[in-house]
């Protein structure tokens, strides 16, 4: 009787745990059935939707017959999932795509291969210098290889500019609205002609972000020291953003909200400075305004916002092969292809003169906007972000948003922001 009871229990446990062993056993099965190709090595690659062209990844298998490329499109919070995996120290991919938050990974640079030890330097002159340098930690190890970039430019409504008596042709706009002051003057004119029907720019944080994207001395120096409280560029960015608010040039439409979408679609926003990937965001948000938008060079100078990178993790057993795949995926030819197919802007200036850049775009009234962004990308200045950039930048922009939304006193808030950052740096 007792043995029967134990048998039943054991059975119950077996069924409970068989769920765990299921996938493992099936995997070993499949590798056994693949015995003839046992020489093939497997490389796991993590990316997110539209960061790498899916078709290109499919072609990679043919290009590298000895490699089985296990591509995993990671949905949801990519950064959190990568960090959890890094913390767990198991199940790490060989190759991983990274967004511009990759600066946060600099303290953990030892978890990545220094790509220069794998021979990255031979490709250096094919890529934008400032983009290349962003992937190198202050200690000099290159943990991230350039993928696409985010050159910035001025997006504007030609019809509204025309109604306000402003130049509406992209060349003329580029030539006349050259500085932030020019841009504000244009905004005043727009306001006089169109009243509160249209505003010059979308929101205060974007003005600040764009100003930083054009400048070099941000919150930190490469040696890690904090300079935000004395950096003229930070201060100027804050003051310019506040001036936009005080002159009522902002529609106060926050990015990534239905409000923003509605505002660009119904003409409440007449222009904004944005990175090239805003083209897709805008096209989807404002279908009713197709043909009316144009792109000109950004007032205040060319800049970069966003763009991504790709790395090889130290846990990878096949770094050489991974590096081959990575450089093949991101070579100039394939970057150009990704631009044509899914709008990822190349970080390889060699292809900027390609006829593909001159494709007219109906949403922008037949303008070939690629030329504008190519010119912008070439001009971006090298700037250092530092691993705490996201945190510090968040502290500043949250307070800046309060200036616009709750009419908080900008001077008092500036002091408070600087104090808050000091406190933050001490922990």
């Amino acid at each position: 009787m007792k043995t029967v009871r134990w048998l039943v229990l054991c059975l119950a446990f077996l069924t409970m745990f068989s769920g765990c062993s299921g996938p493992l056993s099936s995997e070993s099965h499949s590798s056994e059935s693949n015995l003839p190709n046992h020489k093939k090595i497997t490389l796991t690659l993590w990316y997110w939707n539209r960061s790498i062209d899916d078709e290109l990844l499919a072609r990679a298998e043919k290009q590298f017959p000895d490699i089985k490329l296990n591509t995993q499109k990671i949905g949801g919070d990519f950064k959190a999932k990568l960090k959890t995996t890094l913390a767990a120290r198991s199940g790490e991919p060989d190759i991983v795509a990274l967004n511009d938050w990759m600066v946060e990974l600099f303290p953990s640079a030892d978890r990545f291969y220094d790509l220069r030890t794998l021979g990255a330097d031979q490709f250096k002159d094919q890529y934008l210098e400032w983009k290349w340098n962003q992937g190198i930690t202050p200690d000099g190890s290159m943990i991230a290889f350039p993928m696409d970039t985010g050159p910035t430019a001025l997006f504007y409504r030609s019809d509204l500019f025309e109604q306000a008596g402003l130049p509406s042709d992209p060349e003329k706009v580029s030539a006349t609205i050259r500085t932030w002051d020019d841009y504000m003057v244009a905004g005043k004119q727009l306001q006089q002609k169109l009243g509160s029907r249209s505003f010059l720019a979308d929101n205060i944080v974007n003005v600040y972000n764009q100003m930083l994207a054009q400048n070099t001395d941000l919150y930190f120096k490469p040696d890690g020291s904090y300079i935000g409280n004395q950096s003229p560029h930070i201060r100027l960015g804050w003051q310019t953003a506040v001036a936009f608010h005080k002159k009522h040039l902002l529609a106060n439409a926050d990015g990534w909200t239905p409000e923003w979408n509605a505002s660009v679609n119904n003409g409440k926003v007449a222009s904004f400075i944005g990175a090239i990937w805003m083209k897709q965001v805008l096209t989807e948000a404002a279908p009713d305004t197709a043909g009316k938008w144009r792109v000109a060079r950004a007032p205040g100078g060319d800049g970069n916002l966003g763009g991504s990178f790709i790395s090889i993790l130290k846990s990878s057993k096949h770094p050489k092969e991974a590096f081959e795949v990575l450089t093949w995926l991101q070579n100039p030819e394939h970057q150009l292809e990704a631009y044509q197919k899914i709008g990822l802007f190349p970080s390889t200036p060699g292809v900027y003169d390609d006829p593909a850049m001159e494709t007219p775009e109906p949403f922008f009234g037949g303008q070939a906007t690629g030329l504008i962004f190519a010119a912008s990308a070439r001009n971006v200045k090298s700037s250092y972000f530092g691993e705490r950039y996201p945190v510090i930048h968040g502290i500043v922009t949250r307070r800046l948003a309060n200036v616009a939304k709750q009419d908080a006193d900008p001077d008092a808030l500036w002091t408070e922001t600087m104090d808050r950052i000091e406190r933050e740096l001490q922990r």
């Binding site: 009871r5 134990w6 229990l9 409970m16 919070d77 959190a80 960090k83 959890t84 890094l86 913390a87 946060e104 990974l105 303290p107 953990s108 978890r111 106060n252 439409a253 909200t257 239905p258 409000e259 509605a262 505002s263 409440k268 996201p390 945190v391 968040g394 949250r398 948003a401 309060n402 939304k405 709750q406 908080a408 922990r427």
Partner: protein, 291 residues
């Protein structure tokens, strides 16, 4: 003792899965978060011992205390109307003249099983600053628009209304169960003594429901202090304008997973535990003490 356990080992083995799972997924994370609260950790690299540093920072952290204040404000705005409406609904559902009760009960309970993310998106469209539905309604009779998501109370009302919408039916069902357990004879006796409906409600229903009310107050205290998804989807990781929608758990999430201060996030979690415990005791005393 051990002998006794060994004697009944089959029984212990049979109930062990719960304890094993609880040990792995319940007890271990609790212990680990306590360990983490005394360390600095960016989530990937090595942990360094920080002593009471995280807690020292916590008590002097304005943003944390603002989050505590926001959470309490949202709790007040949501729990009081929620429990009041729930009691009214339960009373109506219990009334003899209501037909198709099961349908009503299901209807009132339905919001509770709806995805919060979907709800938050809908409420976002209702409360939107310029093109929101509420502002559209306000404009119809010529009233001024309200920048709901720019003013602190606007954000807090928006979040609270989501909580009310979601949990009123749930509490109503609990109250209904409580109402059904009150013996009918009490009401009949009251009727014979000439009591009015209101008198019966305040002298019989409310006192008899006290344990049930206590239960709902405690659960909504815990739920309210742990509010996260609603503000996160409605106003984002930063809590919206002026961080007015920043709740304690949202703050914990932002510090840990956005700003990579995992040790500090754990300390926030333990701070929150203390606050919930204290606040629950206070509520318990208040509801209980009216004897």
């Amino acid at each position: 003792m051990l002998k006794e356990i060994w004697k009944h080992r089959a029984v212990y083995a049979a109930i062990s899965p719960f304890y094993l799972l609880f040990g792995i997924f319940g007890l271990f994370p609790i212990g680990f978060s306590l360990y983490l609260a005394f360390h600095k950790w960016d989530g990937i690299g090595d942990m360094t011992y920080n002593g009471w540093g995280n807690f020292g920072y916590l008590v002097t952290d304005n943003e944390f205390w603002q989050a505590v204040g926001n959470t309490f404000a949202i709790w007040v705005y949501s729990t009081i109307p929620m429990l009041f409406f729930a009691l009214m609904i339960a009373f109506l559902l219990y009334a003899p003249f209501v037909k198709m009760r099961t349908l009503w009960r299901v209807g009132f309970f339905l919001p509770n099983v709806t995805s919060i993310v979907a709800v938050a998106i809908i409420f976002g469209a209702l409360f939107a600053n310029n093109f929101g539905f509420l502002n559209y309604l306000l404009q119809l009779p010529g009233l001024p628009m309200i920048q709901w998501l720019n003013v602190p109370w606007g954000i807090q009302i928006a979040v609270s209304s989501m909580v009310v919408w979601r949990w009123t039916g749930y509490n109503a069902i609990i109250y209904l169960a409580g109402l059904q357990s009150i013996p009918h004879v009490l009401y009949e006796a009251a009727k014979i003594d000439g009591a009015t409906g209101a008198q019966a409600f305040f002298r019989i229903t409310i006192p008899m429901l006290r344990p049930v009310i206590l239960f709902t107050v405690i659960t909504s205290t815990i739920g309210g202090m742990q509010l996260f998804t609603e503000p996160q989807v409605l106003v984002g990781n930063d809590g919206g304008a002026g961080a007015s929608g920043m709740t304690i758990v949202l703050y914990l999430y932002r510090e840990s997973f956005i700003n990579n201060y995992f040790g500090y996030g754990a300390a926030v979690g333990w701070g929150m535990f203390l606050i919930i415990a204290l606040f629950s005791i206070v509520n318990w005393k208040l509801v209980q003490g009216k004897k």
